[in-house]
Subunit: 249 residues, 2 copies
Amino acid sequence: MPVCGPDSSTTIYGAFVEKRPLYEEIKETLLARLAADHWRPGELLPSEIKLAEEFRVSQGTVRRALDDLVVQGLLARHQGRGTAVTQHKPFGFFHLFRDDGVRELPESKTLRISTHTATRSERDALELAEGKKVIRIARVRFLNLEPKIYETIVLSHDLFAPIEKIDARDLPNTVYNFYEREFGVPVVGKRERLRAVSASQQHARYLHVEPGTPLLEIECLAMSHRKQPIELRISHCLTDEHYYCNLTD
Amino acid sequence: MPVCGPDSSTTIYGAFVEKRPLYEEIKETLLARLAADHWRPGELLPSEIKLAEEFRVSQGTVRRALDDLVVQGLLARHQGRGTAVTQHKPFGFFHLFRDDGVRELPESKTLRISTHTATRSERDALELAEGKKVIRIARVRFLNLEPKIYETIVLSHDLFAPIEKIDARDLPNTVYNFYEREFGVPVVGKRERLRAVSASQQHARYLHVEPGTPLLEIECLAMSHRKQPIELRISHCLTDEHYYCNLTD
DNA sequence: CAGTGGTCTAGACCACGGA
DNA sequence: CCGTGGTCTAGACCACTGG
């Protein structure tokens, strides 16, 4: 009798099983444990056999769940060693590379955190009702000590109200893990829209360029499970010395 | 005794098996058949059971190979119906959407096809030796009848020499299928680098904008199996009414 | 209804890593 | 050496599709 989630059940194989595939249930359970920092990054999970015993399923079913999480970038498996939690957050995966191919980690300076009534496009992206409020965070991000990105983060006030009161200096550099840890909403996917736009007066001031300079606009919608939108992020990047990289295969 | 490729073998399970995983061999074989137009897009492949019999492996092994090809986007499976060749491969490769989310099929007008000695950056991308020649194809692409993309395609002359003699009007709108059909090189992956740049005089002329207008530059390297680079494509897109979309999950 | 893919099991052997 | 994940098998039942 498999023991994963509190779902409704039906009998097959002469036993009780959840209607959704077992490996989906197991994935959810493991995902929840990952979100709850059950294991530290780099730490080894129990072996397939142990997990199979715990969930009362066959090794193959656990394997299927683990494989999916590996594809999602949450776990890494090593023959002979074990299955480990991925070191560097996979979803905050930063796509900007220096022209020579090196990936730099951006530093952030938070300019302000404020609350407003959501605009039409913010409501559309975050699936909010009319009149709902959002928290906006404005940041400048530095690559190699030079300001290269002006970034606005938009969050549903209902979900993230406590952020309002945080001191701008205390906002972590990478916020996806922060959302997961503080608010229990893991970011598992995103939808990005890119455009080339002209730098506004404001962009120009913070990025030390002339207004009208071409900027790469990245509108990124981070999503949790079941496509629930979590965070809207609009970045304006100076791509004179960097490029945005996208791989497929 | 599995029967896939002409690889060296070793005995396990008391039988002869290839050193590489069986499902990899099967993938390659199916991939070759797909490249050879063994099945038409939309056509159903033999069932898992038939394929398992043909390759003399278990159903699970065939399934593993098919699943991988589904992830690659080459096949689509439908419970109760069968496994089909994906209908529109080129569509899956085109990322530009209209602001309202609709995806338009771009029209192309080929401006010229010419041959040159490869530049440094072209050699780097296509992994060519110094002094090698490349074919350059310049196109303007139209969305909703308006010129929106100025595109340069760069191909190794060694691989694609016959293209040189093709009349510009006969070059198909979507060339990936063309490469596969005419030259036997299937495009299975790509690496894209995006930047925001200013329109040059030439861009401006063809796209009917002022020089200096921000354009989205997409440098796309199309690759065949084993990361072999096939085609370098540099597109300059006017993103006043469109955006480039990237999904992750 | 028969045939397809989707899920799951139980068990086998192999290749790799670390003690 | 043992325990890990990686591959493979044979067979079961389910859910869906089509005639």
